[in-house]
Amino acid sequence: MLKRLSLAAVLSLGASGLAIAEGERQGGTLNFTAPYGSSFATLDSQASPNTQEEFITQAIHRSLYSWDSLKNEPVLELATSADVSEEGTVYTYHLRENAVFHNDKPLTADDIIYSYLRIAAPQNAFPGASYIANIAGAAEYIAGDAEGISGLKKIDDHTLEITFVAPINPGFALMMNTTAIYPSNVDEASFVTAPVGLGAFKFEEHVPGSQVVVTKFDKYYEEGKPYLDRVNLILMGEDAARDVAFRNKEIDVSILGPTQYQAYQGEEGLKDNILEVAEVFTRNIGFNPAFEPFKDKRVRQALNHAINAPLIIERLVKNKAYPASGWLPVSSPAFDPDKPAYDFDPEKAKALLAEAGYADGFEFEVTASPNESWGVPIVEAILPMLQKVGVTVRPRPVESAALGDAITSNDFQAYIWSNQSGPDPLNALRCFYSKTLQSACNYASYASPEFDALYEQAQQERDPAKQIDLLRQANNIVQDDAPVWFFNYNKAVMAYQPWVHGLVPNATELALQPYDEIWIDETAPDSRN
């Protein structure tokens, strides 16, 4: 099943990729929606951890690496090549010589050093600091104990040497939008209102609460790109309103929720222009081992057997998700397609509960936000299923903003959440490493010596294939230990107008698209041509 779904994601990838080969057309305007709220918090991309601001970053800025949705891996963006030292910790980047900022300043190593220092500056408390922390000397700088980052060294204007603390793949961290490169010759105060970057589009206008407009940058380093003259990044947080606007052809793309997904699949004219991808998010119910019944692995396994996840996905989530087998999602290179998921087997669940001394069941509460795909509605759906094996569940509703606080302060018996489980499997499994703090991301306080040993081996392994194999084994251990109920992997769905081409199935976040690759054909309405 998972193999088939994975294939579906690849096919959708092929469908949109095909459009690129047909012949790109220059010009036009794209009305792209930013669906995660009704405002852009800031235009300073380095300062914002929100997906909402990443739409702006994608258009205006560039990082040292970028995510290649077709290869499903990070690739060099601002460097043409990188030499890696024997031990895998020192990278020498040969920067693009044709990359120019929107203020006409050519990119140099100084800009990258300046940007990383700003991101990691202790007084800024920027979210990207944790990505810079992989660089030698960054931790001391972030803590305020050093004047600079010792691992950053300018060789010449277009050569930069970065020393990392361990032989990691730095691409996963340095492709993040919060590590965007800024010019070193611009007043910092202007980043909030008039961003200057290296991207394919330059900032034109921000109407607070309404939209950000970007226009084609003629000196962009990719020849012939971008195709579009202008992109309007329009704020539209309401699903229902977005649906009307999309059907009315006022916007060119729309992220779909479960209900809309089901409706669009059944409608002529809409069903053929849907892009789907298995995103790297795992929805789960985390069990707190401090709560007596959850100390026993058999109880946790029993709950995984007692819940009919595929049924909930079909009826409640309207098939806008892939059933989860373990932690790493189907798009992860360390996902094991041969490892079967927990089957729905109430009798087995009862037997496991009896073995663990809970033949009469027990009662627990699940801290949950109102989210329709991973919140109170899902807890209510599992309630009768668990009741059948003698377990009583009570939802403990909290506001979305309070969910993180409740979980990171370990104030729960169980919680339901959607957590990032990729694209880097090493980083994703860090959340099950016993040395990772509960408040960091080891929310279920998981500790397994067997897992730790494999994880530490994987950390040191230089051979990518061997490293993936070790992580696959580690992931399978997590699955067997069931520190969480593995619910589903998010299926992100985007509807697009038939005149839009060049969209890609970005597994890290489907809504983030490479605007420089997108083009529109002559069938677009006059307002876009």
């Binding site: 914002s48 600091a129 909030v192 609460g209 229902a240 009307v244 979305s400 408040s439």
Partner: protein
Amino acid sequence: MLQFTLRRILQIIPTVFVVALLIFVIFSVVPGSFAASLFADGRTAADPELMARLNRELGLDKPLLERFVIYIVDLAHLDLGTSFRTRQPVIELINSRIWASLELAMAAMAFAILVGVPLGFLAALRPGSILDTVTMIGAVSGLSIPQFWLGLLMMYVFALQLNWLPSFGYGDGSWRNIILPAVTLGVTPLALLARTTRAGVLDVMSADFVRTAHSKGMSEGQVVRWHVARNALVLIVTTVGLQFGSLIGQAVVIEKLFSWPGIGSLLVDSVAIRDIPVVQGAILVIVLWFLVINTAVDLIYAAIDPRIKQG
């Protein structure tokens, strides 16, 4: 009159203080924090060091009382603080959104007054007529229809089916963009105004001085213009004032639905991520708006009916 005006303006100050205190206490005790909200969507793993640094940088590690004193002192200097999220002064953020909200509220109120008051008047002048019945059925419906649903219906009919108007957004400030949100927002006050006007006019029409006016031989038009309208105006002005004052608060849902760049949508977003300075600032501005409008209404009363300022 000057004394009355000053008294009403001075009453605003303790009200604002109590509101500021309430907002501060409520958002200090409700669960959730700005630092934790950064990781609430699960898209990035929580970073306890970053959370601690943020709390320190934002002054959230200080005792509650100290934070309140700082807040009140800043407020006394008309400083609403700095947004946790954007690191910009709150006053700048509010300034960038409040005008769109006022524009929407005024358009909605204009629609409500221009349609609701004449309808209420006509219904009262012909009680029991078809016009009266239809107006009152419409008024009850207007009061009971959920605004969110009505907004969607308007989008569906006027944008999607008829293609007359854009379904969302501020556009380039064109009047076409404001029609749907303003009409949606204006339906409730319109219904209320129609009912209130009808009741007020009927009440005045049965008063002794109206009968006297009729018995003096004045025409129906003269009685309505000179006696009924002026006396019914007190009730109408009260309703207009209360509705206008609360319209910015009511606009929160409409602004979200129509992607209207007002203060309401800013407030909702800020509550969701616990950007407390912005929440405090936005609520304070909405409350202040309500108080100012109410004070203005009181002053208008006094002008219409001099007996009011005596009491």
